[in-house]
C-alpha cells in the first residue's frame, strides 16, 4: 500500500505517495522527474545514483523512499544557480572531466559531499574518497584534476595554469588544435542532458525479456496464458509471434532470431517478451510464463567445442562449431624462419571481458498512425540500427526513424543492434503505445558482445640484430553462442599485427568457435588487444633472450611512413619511432631498466589502430560520413548536422571544431545536431575509431562549402575578388591586408537575404580499392593508422602477488590532435580500462554456463583509488588523409597497455604470467614456480 511522505529535494518540499518498494532513486527519477540522478547498477556498486541525504552521500538505489521521508535530499539539479554553474561543475567542464557524462552527476554530488566534510582534501584523499563512483571513460585523471581545481576555486585559490603549446601542424589554425571544453559538457554537468532512460513519453508502457535459464535446450512448449491474463499486461510475445527472420551484425553471419524459435543456446538467450503498465508487472508476468525445455548437452570451452562429436550449436552451419576460419599466409614463413638466428614460440591466453559502459542500454519505440516507427536508443551507430531494423521489419529506411539520445558510453557494447531495440518495436506495434525497455546490469552482461577470450600461439623469428624475419600466429577465439561482430574480430586478430613492425613473412590461422555462452563482439581495440599483448610480451622475451634492449628491438623493426605491409595495408603518416623515443626519455627508461630492485619493474608496450575501417560492416556504396551545415539567417551561428554518434568520446565537439575551422568562425558560434536519422545524413557512427578522420573530413568539406559561399558574398560587399579573401575568427578579410574586413555574420546575413538558405554539405569515403585481393583483405584497411608506445612501472608485493601500477608514460601519434584535452582524455581512459582488464576483469561461469559475476560487485573494474600517474604526450605528426592532419586515438590507445603491464610485471618478478587477467594468484604462483626452479 502506498504511503504519503514529505521529502525536501533541493529547495523544494514534495508530498508524494510511494510504495514501500520504491527506492529513493526511482522516486527522484520516475515520480519527481528529476532525471539528473542516474541509474547505473541498481545494487550500490557504481555510485551513478549518488545524492546527498541529510548531508551524507548515499547510493539512492539502496535507500527506500519511505525511509527518506522527512529528510533533505540534494541532487545535481539543485547545484547550479540559474545559469551560473557551481564551481565543481565549472571545473568538471573546464578540465575535460566529462566524457559520456553518465557518472558525472553522481561524481559531482560525491565531490560536493567531500568538500562539505573537508574543504581542503589532498589528491590522495580525493582518489580514495571518490572510489565509490565508477567511471569507465576518463581514467579518473581529469576528474581528480577537476576536483582539485574546484577545491581551489572554492578556497579562493588560483588553480595552477597549464602550459600549452599547440602542435606544429595546428599553429596556424584558430579552432583545431586548441584545448576546448566539450560542447555537451555543461548539460552533462547539470543533469540536463537527456539519456534514453530519462525520456518518458505520454501513454508509455514498459517491456521486459524472459531469458533462458539453461545453456542449451530445445523449447518443447511455451504457455503464456497466465501471463497474458495478468492485470496490467498488454502484450506477451514468443518466437511464434514474430517474423521468422535471421538478423545479426555481419550479413554472412546473420544467425540470431528476434525471440528464440525452437532452441536456446546460452543462459540469457531471449525466449519471450512482455509489455505491461510498469516494470514490476512485467516481472510478475514473466514469472507466469511456463516454458518446457528439453535440455541438450552444452559446451563452454572452444577447444572442446571443436572436437569431433561435441554438441553443435547450429545443426545447419558452423561445422565443429567453427563459426569463422581464417587462413592467411603472406610472404614465406618457412623461408623467414630459416633466415632467423633465434626463434621463440609461446602460448598466451586472454580473458573474457565486458565493456561495462556506465549507462545500461535503453530504448523506446513508438509507432505513429502512418505506419512509421521511431526508436529512441542509446547506440553507437544509428545507421547500423536503422539498416538492421529495415532488414528485420521489411520496411525501407524511410519507414523508420532512429534517434540517438545522449549515450552513456559504449566501447563496442552498443556498436550493433541489440535485442531491446528490436523487441520494443514489436511490443509497441501490438500495444499501440510507446514501449520503453532497458537492460539491468546483469542483462547487459548476458546480452554480451564483450571481448572474445583468445588462445594465441605466437612464434617470432629474429636475426641477431633483432630484425624480425617471420611471424606465425594461431588464434582461437571463444565466441559465445552467436556471431555478432565475431567474423570481423577474427580477421582483425590477425590483420593488425603487421602495422607496428615491419616483417615480410607472416602466417595467421584464426578460428572463432561457438560455445553456449553469451555472444562476444567488438570491444575497444576490436580483436587486436590479445594478439598485441602476446606480440609485445614475446618481443620483449626475445629481446631479453638475445641480450637486446626492449626499446631497441622495437626501434629496429619500427614502422615508417608510406609503407606497404605484407598483408597489403597502406601506412601513410607514421611517427612510431618518435613515440618510442619520447617514452624512453620521459620514463627514465635507460636509468631504470634492469636496475630496479626485485618487486619493482618497468615494461614497454606498443599499439596502433585503424582510423576507421576501410569498408562498412555491410556492403554499401554510401559515403561513410556525411555532414550538412545550416547557417542561421542572420549569420551569427551555424548548425552542424552529422550522422556520427557522440558516445562520450567527444565527436560532437571535434566535428564542430573541424567545421568551425573550415568556415572561419569561432567555437562559440556552432551548435550540433547528431545521430538522428531524420535530421542528419548517414554516418557509420562510433566504431573502429573512425569519427575524427571520416566525420572530420565530411564536416571540413561542408564547412568549406559554406566558406566559399561566404567569400563570394563578401566579395560583392567588399568589392574584392573572392580569391583574394579569407575567412577566419568570425571575419572575412583581404588576405594581403587583414585589417580590411567585414564581420562573417554580415556576409551570412547578406547571403540569406539574397539567396535564401546558406547550406554546406560534405561527405567522406575512404580511398577506393583499399587492401589486397585475398579473402578477408578488407579487414584492417584504413585511410590512416595511429601509433603509440607506453612505458609502465609497477610495484609487486612479492609475498601476495598483488600488482600496483605506479606510472604510465605514453606517447601517441594521432596526427594533429583536433582537441588535445580530449585526446588526453581518450589516452587516460584507455590506460585505466586496459589496466583494469589486465589486472581485474574476467567473466566467470559455473559448470552450467551461468555467469557467476554479472554485476559490478564481483566483476571488478578499476576505481579512482587504483589510478596510476599518467603522463601522455602527443607527438608531432600530420596525416595527409585526415582533416587538418588528424587521425584516431580512442581505440589505439588501449593496445599498448596490456603488453606494457605484462612486461613490467615480468621485469618486477623475474618470471612471467602468460594468461590474463594477471591476478595476484597467478603472479604468486609464477613467483613460487620460479623459486622452485
Amino acid at each position: 500500500m502506498k504511503q504519503l511522505i514529505t521529502i525536501t529535494v533541493n529547495a523544494d518540499e514534495y508530498e508524494v505517495a510511494v510504495k514501500p518498494t520504491t527506492t529513493l532513486l526511482d522516486l527522484l527519477r520516475e515520480e519527481l522527474k528529476l532525471t539528473g540522478t542516474k541509474k547505473g547498477c541498481e545494487l550500490g556498486d557504481c555510485g551513478a545514483c549518488t545524492v546527498i541525504l541529510d548531508g551524507k552521500a548515499v547510493n539512492s538505489c539502496l535507500v527506500l523512499a519511505v525511509e527518506a521521508a522527512g529528510k533533505r535530499v540534494e541532487t545535481i539539479e539543485g547545484l547550479a544557480k540559474g545559469v551560473e554553474l557551481h564551481p565543481i561543475q565549472r571545473a568538471f567542464v573546464e578540465k575535460g572531466a566529462i566524457q559520456c557524462g553518465y557518472c558525472t552527476p553522481g561524481m559531482i554530488m560525491r565531490t560536493k559531499s567531500i568538500f562539505d566534510k573537508n574543504p581542503n582534501p589532498t589528491k590522495q584523499e580525493i582518489q580514495a574518497e571518490l572510489s565509490g563512483n565508477l567511471c569507465r571513460c576518463t581514467g579518473y585523471t581529469k576528474i581528480i584534476e577537476a576536483v582539485e581545481t574546484a577545491r581551489d576555486y572554492l578556497n579562493g585559490v588560483k588553480p595552477p595554469e597549464l602550459e600549452f603549446m599547440p602542435q606544429k601542424s595546428a599553429i596556424d589554425l584558430s579552432v583545431v588544435g586548441r584545448r576546448l571544453p566539450k560542447i555537451d559538457a555543461p548539460d552533462k554537468a547539470t543533469g540536463r542532458a537527456l539519456y534514453t532512460d530519462d525520456i518518458s513519453l505520454p501513454n508509455m508502457i514498459y517491456g521486459k525479456l524472459l531469458l533462458s535459464p539453461v545453456p542449451h535446450a530445445r523449447i518443447v512448449s511455451i504457455d503464456t496464458s497466465k501471463a497474458k491474463a495478468f492485470p496490467g499486461v498488454k502484450v506477451v510475445l514468443t518466437g511464434a509471434d514474430v517474423p521468422d527472420v535471421r538478423w545479426g551484425t555481419s550479413p554472412p553471419r546473420y544467425d540470431e532470431t528476434i525471440l528464440a524459435k525452437d532452441k536456446v543456446r546460452f543462459v540469457g538467450d531471449v525466449v519471450a517478451a512482455v509489455a505491461a503498465i510498469d516494470e514490476e508487472t512485467c516481472y510478475r508476468a514473466l514469472d507466469l510464463i511456463q516454458v518446457e525445455y528439453e535440455e541438450l548437452p552444452a559446451v563452454f570451452d572452444p577447444m572442446e567445442a571443436m572436437k569431433e562429436g561435441a554438441p553443435r550449436l547450429f545443426d545447419d552451419k558452423y561445422e565443429h562449431n567453427i563459426n569463422t576460419h581464417v587462413d592467411h599466409h603472406f610472404g614465406d614463413i618457412e623461408k623467414g624462419f630459416a633466415q632467423a638466428d633465434y626463434i621463440r614460440e609461446q602460448r598466451f591466453v586472454g580473458n573474457r571481458t565486458y565493456q561495462n559502459p556506465m549507462e545500461p542500454h535503453c530504448s523506446i519505440a513508438e509507432w505513429d498512425r502512418h505506419g512509421r516507427v521511431t526508436l529512441y536508443t542509446s547506440t553507437q551507430v544509428v545507421h547500423y540500427v536503422h539498416h538492421q531494423l529495415s532488414h528485420i521489419l521489411g520496411l525501407p529506411l524511410g519507414g523508420i526513424r532512429v534517434i540517438m539520445t545522449n549515450c552513456g558510453g559504449g566501447f563496442g557494447a552498443k556498436a550493433a543492434t541489440n535485442t531491446i531495440e528490436v523487441v520494443s518495436i514489436f511490443l509497441s506495434r501490438i500495444a499501440g503505445c510507446p514501449v520503453k525497455m532497458r537492460f539491468s546490469r546483469e542483462e547487459m552482461y548476458l546480452f554480451g558482445r564483450g571481448r572474445h577470450k583468445q588462445y594465441i600461439d605466437l612464434k617470432i623469428g629474429v636475426k641477431k640484430d633483432g630484425t624480425i624475419t617471420a611471424v606465425k600466429q594461431k588464434a582461437v577465439l571463444e565466441g559465445g553462442a552467436y556471431s555478432s561482430f565475431g567474423i570481423v574480430s577474427t580477421y582483425y586478430a590477425g590483420s593488425m599485427l603487421t602495422t607496428l613492425y615491419k616483417f615480410p613473412n607472416y602466417k595467421y590461422d584464426g578460428f572463432r568457435v561457438n560455445t553456449n555462452l553469451p555472444p562476444c563482439g567488438a570491444f575497444r581495440g576490436h580483436g587486436c588487444p590479445h594478439p598485441r599483448f602476446a606480440f609485445e610480451s614475446l618481443l620483449t622475451m626475445i629481446a631479453d633472450d638475445i641480450g637486446m634492449d626492449s626499446i631497441d628491438i622495437r626501434l629496429k623493426n619500427a614502422m615508417t611512413p608510406e609503407y606497404h605491409t605484407c598483408n597489403d595495408l597502406e601506412i601513410h603518416s607514421c611517427e612510431f619511432t618518435a613515440c618510442l623515443e619520447e617514452v624512453r626519455k620521459k620514463s627514465g627508461w635507460d636509468e631504470k631498466k634492469g636496475k630496479l630492485p626485485r618487486g619493482r619493474g618497468i615494461g614497454i608496450g606498443c599499439g596502433g589502430f585503424v582510423s576507421g575501417a576501410g569498408y562498412p560492416i555491410y556492403r554499401s556504396k554510401f559515403p561513410h560520413s556525411n555532414a550538412t551545415i545550416k547557417v542561421m539567417e542572420d549569420g551569427t551561428r551555424a548548425i552542424l548536422f552529422i550522422g556520427d554518434a557522440d558516445i562520450g568520446q567527444g565527436s560532437d565537439t571535434v566535428l564542430s571544431m573541424a567545421a568551425c575551422e573550415a568556415m572561419g568562425i569561432s567555437y562559440d558560434r556552432i551548435s550540433v545536431v547528431s545521430a538522428d536519422s531524420d535530421l542528419t545524413p548517414i554516418g557509420f557512427g562510433a566504431y573502429s575509431s573512425r569519427v575524427t578522420l571520416m566525420g572530420g573530413n565530411a564536416c571540413k568539406m561542408a564547412g568549406e562549402e559554406v566558406k566559399n559561399q561566404i567569400l563570394l558574398q563578401a566579395a560583392g560587399i567588399m568589392k574584392v575578388d573572392a580569391e583574394k579573401l579569407e575567412a577566419k575568427d568570425n571575419r572575412v578579410f583581404v588576405k594581403e591586408d587583414p585589417s580590411t574586413f567585414i564581420p562573417w555574420e554580415e556576409a551570412g546575413f547578406a547571403f540569406f537575404s539574397r539567396n535564401g538558405p546558406l547550406l554546406g554539405k560534405g561527405h567522406y569515403s575512404p580511398p577506393e580499392g583499399l587492401g589486397g585481393k585475398y579473402k578477408g583483405a578488407a579487414v584492417g584497411t584504413s585511410p590512416a593508422y595511429s601509433f603509440s608506445a607506453t612505458v609502465c612501472e609497477v610495484e609487486v608485493d612479492m609475498e601476495t602477488g598483488k600488482v600496483k601500477v605506479l606510472n604510465f608514460w605514453d606517447a601517441h601519434d594521432c596526427g594533429t590532435a583536433v582537441n588535445p584535452m580530449l585526446v588526453e582524455g581518450q589516452a587516460e581512459g584507455a590506460v585505466l580500462m586496459g589496466m583494469s582488464e589486465v589486472l581485474f576483469e574476467n567473466e566467470v561461469f559455473d559448470t552450467k554456463g551461468k555467469m557467476i559475476n554479472p554485476d559490478l560487485h564481483n566483476y571488478l573494474i578499476a576505481t579512482s583509488a587504483d589510478m596510476p600517474e599518467i603522463q601522455s604526450t602527443i607527438v608531432e605528426s600530420y596525416e595527409p588523409h585526415g582533416p587538418y592532419g588528424a587521425k584516431e586515438v580512442g581505440e589505439g590507445a588501449t593496445l599498448p597497455i596490456l603488453g606494457a603491464i605484462a612486461n613490467a610485471v615480468a621485469d618486477a618478478i623475474g618470471t612471467r604470467v602468460f594468461e590474463l587477467p594477471i591476478t595476484p594468484q597467478r603472479v604468486l604462483e609464477a613467483i613460487q614456480k620460479s623459486n622452485q626452479c
Partner: protein, 289 residues
C-alpha cells in the same frame, strides 16, 4: 530490477520493533539495507514484512562505561568511524571499518547489519572478535549478551532466532599494553570484498606477550579465532617475532592450519593459505609494533 512486494514497518521504539518481530515471523529487520535490499533485488531472498530499525534512537547511540564501549547496532559505519569514543578506544575498528565498500555504503550500512549478515569475509567481525567483543541481543522482554565468538555458526548463519534483534555491540576497552590491527587483502584498492583478512590483538607486558587473539577472515565458513597462531604467541618474548623469525613463520603456519579456505572467483584455496600466512605475520608485526 525491482524489489518484491513487502509491507513496511518503521517502529519508533525497540519494544515496538520486538513486538513486530514477534507478530511477523517471516519479517526481516532492516538496518542500513545495503545487504538486504541487494539480496531482495537479486531475488535471493523474500520477506513479506520489512521492519526498519532506522527510527529507533537507542540503536544508534555510542556510549561507554569504565570497561566497555557500547556501539548501537544501527550506527552506520561512518558514525562508528567518526565517534570520538571509538577512535580513542578502538582505532583498529575504525581502520577495519574504513575498508568497507565506499563512503556511500559506509554512510548507509551499519555495524550491526555487517555482523548479522555474517559473511565470512565481512570486515568488522575479525577485529571485533580480536577485541573480544560481545553482542547484546533483545528478544521479547529479555536481553542477553553473547560473546561474538559464539555468534557465528556458518557462512551467513548466526545463532539469532526469529524474534531476536541485535541491539548493541559491546567492545571491551583494551587494557594497557595492547596493540590491535586489521589486515585486509582485496583484489583492488577500494570497494572490494576481502579475499583474506586477519585481525590481531596482542598484549605485551615487559616485552612478553601475555595475551593474544588472532582472527582469520574469509578462509573458513565464519570469521575464526586461530587457536594455533595464538598458542605460538602466548608467553613469548616479542623479540622472537622479528621480521623473518622462525616463530613468526610458525604463527603464520598456525593460522593456515586453522583455516579451511575454499576456491572461488576471488582466489583458490592454496592462494588464500599463502596470503593468510603473509597477512598473519604482518598483523602480528603491526600489533606488536
Amino acid at each position: 530490477m525491482v524489489l518484491p512486494d513487502f509491507r513496511f514497518h518503521q517502529p519508533a521504539t525497540l519494544q515496538d520493533a520486538l513486538n513486530l518481530l514477534g507478530q511477523h515471523p517471516d519479517a526481516a529487520a532492516m538496518a542500513g539495507g545495503t545487504d538486504l535490499l541487494v539480496e531482495m533485488k537479486k531475488g535471493l531472498c523474500r520477506h513479506h514484512d520489512i521492519i526498519s530499525l532506522a527510527k529507533i534512537p537507542e540503536l544508534k547511540r555510542i556510549t561507554e562505561n569504565t570497561d566497555n564501549l557500547f556501539i548501537g547496532a544501527c550506527s552506520t559505519h561512518s558514525e562508528v568511524m567518526a565517534s570520538r569514543l571509538v577512535r580513542e578506544h578502538a582505532p583498529a575498528l575504525v581502520k577495519a571499518t574504513s575498508k568497507i565498500g565506499s563512503e556511500q555504503i559506509r554512510n548507509t550500512g551499519t555495524i550491526g547489519g555487517n555482523i548479522c549478515t555474517a559473511a565470512s569475509c565481512c570486515d568488522t567481525a575479525p577485529i571485533l572478535l580480536a577485541m573480544n567483543a560481545s553482542v547484546e541481543i533483545a528478544c521479547d522482554e529479555k536481553i542477553r549478551i553473547v560473546p561474538l565468538r559464539d555468534f557465528f555458526t556458518f557462512n551467513k548463519k548466526t545463532i539469532l532466532e526469529k524474534r531476536d534483534l541485535v541491539t548493541r555491540i559491546i567492545v571491551p576497552k583494551p587494557v594497557s599494553g595492547t596493540g590491535a590491527c586489521y589486515e585486509k587483502f582485496g583484489l583492488r584498492e577500494a570497494g572490494s570484498i576481502s579475499v583474506v583478512s586477519v585481525a590481531a590483538s596482542i598484549r605485551i607486558q615487559d616485552a612478553v606477550i601475555t595475551d593474544a587473539l588472532i582472527v582469520i577472515g574469509a578462509v573458513a565458513p565464519t570469521p575464526k579465532i586461530s587457536g594455533q597462531a595464538i598458542e605460538i604467541l602466548k608467553g613469548r618474548n616479542v623479540r622472537e617475532f622479528m621480521e623473518g623469525s622462525p616463530l613468526l613463520e610458525e604463527a603464520g603456519n598456525g593460522a593456515v592450519r586453522d583455516s579451511i579456505p575454499i576456491d572461488d572467483i576471488r582466489g583458490g584455496a592454496q592462494f588464500r593459505r599463502d596470503v593468510l600466512k603473509v597477512l598473519t605475520k604482518r598483523a602480528i608485526r603491526s600489533a606488536i609494533a
